[in-house]
């Protein structure tokens, strides 16, 4: 690849490359090596945390596509996850537990659901869209609840570990590698979608729908497309949830799950794939962080009871803090830090207002 001092691209290849500067390539290589080698360096507990973060990131990236990129506010994310998980459950109940069938089936169910939600959503904007998706979430959960009762498993359906040919996916390390790989794929997909024609259309629709329509973007088609992509990916994440937890129950998919995902993309930073990943890490690791702090403070026994509302409350507090003080999220902080570092010791001074 030709250089241009790092600021100018001199070949098409370098312009299209996802990772352009030498520093970024090195950083990416280092990250890949670190992720591959991690199982040798840490305990299964940490591996499980990273795996959970990766799975959450898939869901967050999917939601970011819909809400951050295309500007369609959705509060029904948990419904799509439930749809994917319950598709897996249905297939398991019908003695078809193979992931080769379940994952595409989940994607298909998600896509269909995306069309079902997306078409009426064309009439709604903003707050009304959010409320519509919330209502739909309740309807989907109702359907899943009916299924759960119908199959007589009142507490839930258990899912056997996924089997590919002769190999069974079991154990923390195997799940870790699988989920990291899936997350990496979805990150690449997400970044590429953002740079594609669809991505640009979505961003145009998000920023100024009327202007987008007047330059010839088929707003209806792209809005439905956003729902379809997002819900298909989310349903796949839901299917993976089902396999990883080995258990599917409608109680796990309440409104709070949707809030967690919204928190991930807002705390991380709306509209950015990096933000979705950072937000997913933040929200997933927060409860464990609080556990660690509480353990470190050596709070007297019996206080474990207070941990649940404490974690709940801390989550709410942090989410509110980010919304009020840092609307651009973790990505905003990262960008400011990066700009400060790259400009140092120079600083841009804005115009000072008259006192």
């Amino acid at each position: 690849m030709a250089h241009g001092g790092g600021y100018f691209k001199t070949t098409y290849a370098s312009d299209l490359a996802l990772v352009d500067t030498r520093l970024r390539r090195t950083a990416l290589a280092a990250l890949i090596v670190a992720l591959l080698v991690l199982p040798r360096l840490t305990s299964p507990f940490v591996l499980d945390l990273v795996a959970q973060t990766a799975l959450a990131a898939v869901g967050a990236l999917a939601l970011n596509l819909l809400t951050g990129l295309a500007g369609q506010i959705s509060l029904g994310h948990a419904g799509f996850i439930a749809a994917g998980a319950f598709t897996t459950a249905v297939l398991v109940e019908h003695r078809l537990p193979s992931p080769l069938l379940a994952l595409p089936a989940a994607a298909l169910v998600g896509a269909v659901l995306g069309v079902v939600v997306g078409i009426p959503a064309l009439r709604l904007k903003g707050l009304y869209l959010a409320l519509g998706t919330l209502a739909l979430h309740h309807v989907v959960l109702y359907a899943c609840g009916e299924f759960q009762n119908h199959w007589g498993a009142n507490t839930g359906v258990s899912i056997p570990p996924p089997r590919l040919g002769g190999w069974v996916l079991k154990g923390t390390t195997a799940w870790y590698y699988t989920l990291i790989a899936v997350a990496a794929l979805v990150v690449a997909l997400s970044v590429n979608l953002q740079r594609s024609r669809a991505g640009r259309a979505w961003m145009a629709i998000r920023d100024r729908e009327i202007a987008a329509e007047s330059v010839g973007i088929d707003v209806a088609r792209y809005k439905v497309l956003a729902f379809v992509w997002s819900s298909a990916l989310t349903a796949v994440a839901g299917a993976l949830f089902a396999y990883q937890r080995a258990f599917v129950s409608v109680e796990a998919f309440g409104f709070f799950l949707a809030i967690e995902y919204i928190a991930m993309i807002t705390i991380g930073g709306l509209g950015s794939a990096l933000g979705a990943v950072l937000g997913a890490a933040f929200v997933t690791l927060l409860p464990y962080g609080i556990d660690a702090v509480v353990a470190g403070l050596r709070v007297p026994g019996g206080a474990e009871y207070y941990l649940f509302p404490l974690k709940f409350g801390a989550f709410g507090l942090l989410m509110a803090a980010f919304l009020i003080f840092e609307p651009q999220g973790l990505v905003g902080i990262w960008r400011r830090a990066r700009n400060w570092l790259s400009l140092w010791p120079l600083r841009y001074r804005p115009l000072r207002p008259a006192s």
């Binding site: 209502a135 207070y306 509302p309």
Partner: protein
């Protein structure tokens, strides 16, 4: 038949109390307060707090609990919602969601999620009463209907007739013009939140005495916003028909259908309304474009 009618009116009254909170806050600040249900729970727990602090004086406990909830609404506006002034409305709505989380966490922290019954602690009773026509309702059911009716009358009088109420409507329509005419709209917005807290507390107090008190009462709030939307988010008058419709459908589906369906039926009403007439029965169409 009369029982169905009576139950519908009772359920509708409770929903109307909650939906009034949604509409008041929305009319003034254009924000949907998704924590309204949790503010109802807060009111119920304020009552519980006062039954232990001032046992045996129900009138004092109830009025103080409602007043505390109103004050809480006032401060919530200044602390959480006012800083969100320049931000997109959806971000402000998310902040109300976090408010709900914080309220619930605080309540569970202090009171655990045990189910409480403040009624006996207040020294009151809730005997069933027979209505003409054969329907049976509890005393607090009747009180709920009465309180809802009284609150709505008071709110209508306030908003239509008193200068402060007119100013609140003016500030809700165009805050800047209100400021240019000397109206302190921040104070009026805080007042709308205080009224929402008050209405929610009334609902919470009545429900806590009638049924039970536990931290998960907030789900009723979610059903109530379906009512607010069906009636029209910016129409206080629309709350009444909206509440009656949603309550009727819910009661009928409990009686003749599946109880699980009853939980979902307000959302089905909501979806139907959004598809057919998103601005609700009596809302203004322009509202749709504003957001």
């Amino acid at each position: 038949m009369t029982q169905v009618l009576a139950t519908t009116v009772v359920v509708a009254s409770l929903y109307a109390l909650l939906a009034a909170g949604y509409v008041l806050v929305y009319r003034a600040t254009r924000v949907l307060n998704l924590a309204q249900g949790d503010m109802m729970t807060l009111g119920g727990y304020f009552l519980f707090l006062l039954t232990t602090a001032a046992p045996g004086s129900p009138a004092l406990s109830i009025t103080t609990a409602a007043a505390l909830a109103a004050a809480a609404g006032f401060f919530i506006y200044h602390l959480l919602m006012r800083p969100m002034a320049g931000h997109p409305i959806f971000a402000a709505v998310l902040v109300t969601v976090t408010l709900g989380i914080l309220l619930r966490a605080a309540i569970v922290l202090v009171y655990t999620d045990r189910i409480r019954h403040p009624l006996p602690l207040l020294g009151l009773a809730n005997p069933p009463r027979r209505l003409p026509g054969g329907a049976v309702v509890s005393t607090f059911d009747l009180l709920t209907v009465g309180v809802a009716a009284a609150l709505f009358l008071a709110l209508f009088a306030f908003l239509r007739l008193s200068p402060l109420g007119i100013q609140m409507r003016a500030a809700g329509e165009k805050a800047l013009l209100a400021a240019q005419r000397g109206i302190n709209f921040q104070l009026l917005f805080a007042l709308s939140w205080a009224l929402a807290g008050f209405a929610g507390a009334l609902a919470g107090i009545l429900y806590a005495n009638n049924v039970r008190l536990d931290p998960s009462l907030g789900v009723l709030g979610l059903k109530a916003f379906a009512v607010a939307l069906v009636g029209g988010l910016d129409s206080l008058g629309g709350v009444i028909p909206g509440a009656l419709i949603v309550a009727a459908i819910e009661v009928l589906s409990v009686r003749y259908g599946d109880p699980l369906l009853a939980d979902v039926s307000p959302f089905l009403c909501l979806l139907a309304m959004l598809l057919v007439r998103p601005w609700g029965l009596f809302g203004t169409k322009e509202e749709l474009e504003r957001v």
